[in-house]
């Protein structure tokens, strides 16, 4: 039994067509012209209980739109979603009891008063039993360090503290499902690490199902067993991390710093380099690991100029996705 089921979900937004310039703006006021923007297009997937799923894709892919539908605050144009047997946008309040939500750029804490007052409100709003409340608070103060700032008004918290407090209030009632929309946005390395560990712990110990959107490669690498990739509203990939990397991630990037020279790197293209940039000092070279390796490129370079420094970068998920998308795009063009 899947805990989340999404079937042929499509969401379109209507946008008033804007015209350019001052008079255009006035015309816009009286015009009835709309353009339709399809944010999510015919997306289907399901999530099992206890999974951590990374829901990723470039900016504007439709991630937040999908999450909003799943939490019940957006009604789909067509298709349907079911969460724990409930249709979220039809039974929003019933659904709300089963879920916890963190939108990275928003807070559900009361802005002007101490964190503890928001916590108390949640306690009563979700009718949390005393025993559960105390147990959860103990965990949260241990792992998230809530105690440090529990009596501080929210507007005086740093972003990292606020995010920890937000995670705390969204999990107080031990929800079955946790939706995280960019939970690590704008946080420093240590806090990110902290939050990742916390998410892992929650998933392991409470069996919470987690759906996570992020642009942070490390988030995905450290948290997600499974990835769902979406772009321009279309589902691109649904499967585990390993096979995605194996399929599209045979790319590496090499950065080489040289003494000033005017070597033409075009010669590398024949050897399996797919892309390069060189300004006479710094070279950025991308290549397929199954055709050439870093040593090969370095040797080639050293024969032609003095190499001062170099570094090798594993391909990151953004690049994997970009590559994957490019391939899918080309394939669909060829079909035509």
């Amino acid at each position: 039994m899947s805990i989340i089921k999404v079937e042929n979900l499509t969401k379109q937004f209507k946008r008033t067509k804007r015209k350019k310039g001052f008079f255009g703006a006035i015309k816009t006021l009286f015009s009835n012209e709309y353009e339709i923007k399809t944010a999510v297009h015919d997306v289907s997937f399901s999530v099992e209980k206890g999974e951590i799923v990374g829901y990723i894709g470039p900016n504007g892919a439709g991630k937040s739109t999908t999450i909003k539908t799943l939490v019940g605050i957006l009604v789909p144009t067509s298709g349907n979603a079911e969460v724990k047997g409930i249709i979220p946008y039809q039974s929003r309040i019933e659904n709300a009891r089963n879920i916890g939500v963190v939108f990275g750029q928003r807070t559900q804490l009361w802005w002007d008063i101490p964190v503890v007052d928001s916590i108390n409100l949640m306690r009563h709003m979700y009718k949390i039993q005393d025993a559960l409340f105390e147990e959860n608070m103990k965990i949260f103060s241990q792992v998230l360090g809530i105690d440090e700032f529990i009596n501080t008004p929210v507007r005086q918290l740093s972003l990292g503290q606020r995010m920890r407090a937000d995670l705390c209030v969204s999990l107080l009632h031990s929800p079955d499902i946790l939706y995280l929309d960019e939970p690590t946005i704008g946080l420093d390395v240590v806090v990110k690490e902290n939050i990742r560990n916390f998410i892992k712990k929650i998933n392991k110990e409470m069996g919470t199902t987690i759906v996570l959107t992020t642009h942070d490669m490390d988030d995905i690498e450290m948290l997600c067993h499974r990835l769902i990739v979406i772009d321009k509203g279309h589902l691109m990939y649904d499967g585990d991390m390993g096979s995605l990397k194996a399929k599209y991630g045979s790319n590496e990037r090499l950065t080489i710093i040289t003494e000033k020279s005017d070597v033409d790197l075009k010669g590398l293209l024949a050897l399996g380099v797919s892309e390069f940039k060189y300004n006479g000092i710094k070279a950025d070279i991308q290549y397929e690991t199954d055709k050439i390796n870093a040593m090969g490129i370095l040797e080639w370079m050293m024969q032609r100029c003095r190499v001062k420094d170099f570094s090798i970068h594993q391909v990151n998920i953004e690049e994997v996705i970009r590559k994957m998308y490019r391939e899918l795009d080309e394939r669909s063009k060829m079909m035509k």
């Binding site: 937040s64 909003k68 605050i73 939108f103 559900q108 002007d112 928001s118 409100l121 709003m125």
Partner: protein, 266 residues
């Protein structure tokens, strides 16, 4: 139930964090009260009383009307439209809609918290000024009791009206200007500055078909003692009818609006 009390408490505490704001608003209310009363003094100067739809009006009654109207304004005022406008525009409304509680219950509880705060910190200075500076009339416990009931209904009517206007933001995204229209309609047809008893015949008739007069004019009539027992009961019953009508309208608007709502941002 406890959740409501927590929200009321939180919004009361939020009010307290903005003390300077409170002081300024008290100051504003006092100035506005003084201006209005001076105006009535000037207008009444030569005459002992003025004629109206409901008989002669004495200056002291007019002064009392103005003070009670100012107090009413402080007590029933809510920021429902501004709040909704903001929540919809920024998409922050998402954070209310993910809670296992209706948006109306959340907004309503927030309003009660603010009202409590206003009653304690803002209406007291006005009451004191009214009693010590002007001949503010106490018109008996019975009138006061009925006035309080009518005032409560008035607050509900005003809340429902604001909520309905706020919900249209589900279609138009921004609604504060509609809030202005509502404010002005209430200012004119509710009789918050000029009692309906001084209205020209035509305006007076129009106002009879609108809910606005039940917010200021009729509750104040009860306080001043311008209506008899039968009139009081009628007013309260009519208020209830209006509340029922507004709730129905609100439910219909919600039903269609929630499907239209587009959460901004993300």
């Amino acid at each position: 139930m406890k959740a409501y009390i927590e929200i009321i408490r939180n919004s009361f505490l939020t009010g307290i964090t903005y003390r300077v704001n409170t002081l300024l608003r008290i100051f504003g209310a006092v100035v506005s009260l003084l201006v209005q009363i001076s105006l009535w003094y000037v207008l009444f100067q030569s005459k002992p009383d003025a004629t109206s739809h409901i008989g002669a009006i004495k200056l002291s009654e007019m002064v009392t009307y103005t003070i009670v109207s100012t107090l009413t304004h402080i007590i029933i005022s809510n920021q429902v439209i501004m709040r909704l406008d903001n929540k919809i525009k920024t998409g922050q409304i998402a954070m209310d809609l993910i809670k296992p509680m209706s948006l109306k219950a959340i907004l309503g509880s927030e309003m009660i918290g603010t009202t409590l705060y206003n009653v304690i910190f803002r209406s007291l200075p006005i009451l004191l000024i009214g009693i010590f500076l002007f001949s503010f009339q106490f018109s008996g416990w019975l009138n006061l009791a009925f006035f309080i009931i009518a005032l409560f209904n008035a607050a509900v009517i005003f809340f429902e009206l604001s909520y309905i206007v706020g919900l249209t933001g589900f279609w138009y995204t921004t609604v504060w200007h509609m809030g202005r229209v509502l404010d002005n309609a209430i200012r004119v047809f509710g009789g918050s500055f000029i009692p309906l008893w001084f209205f020209p015949e035509s305006l007076y008739h129009i106002s009879m078909f609108l809910p606005f007069r039940f917010i200021y004019y009729t509750p104040i009539l009860i306080y001043i003692g311008k209506v008899d027992m039968k009139g009081v009961i009628e007013i309260i019953l009519q208020q209830w009818v209006w509340i029922a009508i507004l709730i129905i309208i609100e439910k219909v608007i919600w039903k269609f609006g929630i499907k239209k709502l587009v959460i901004q941002g993300g």
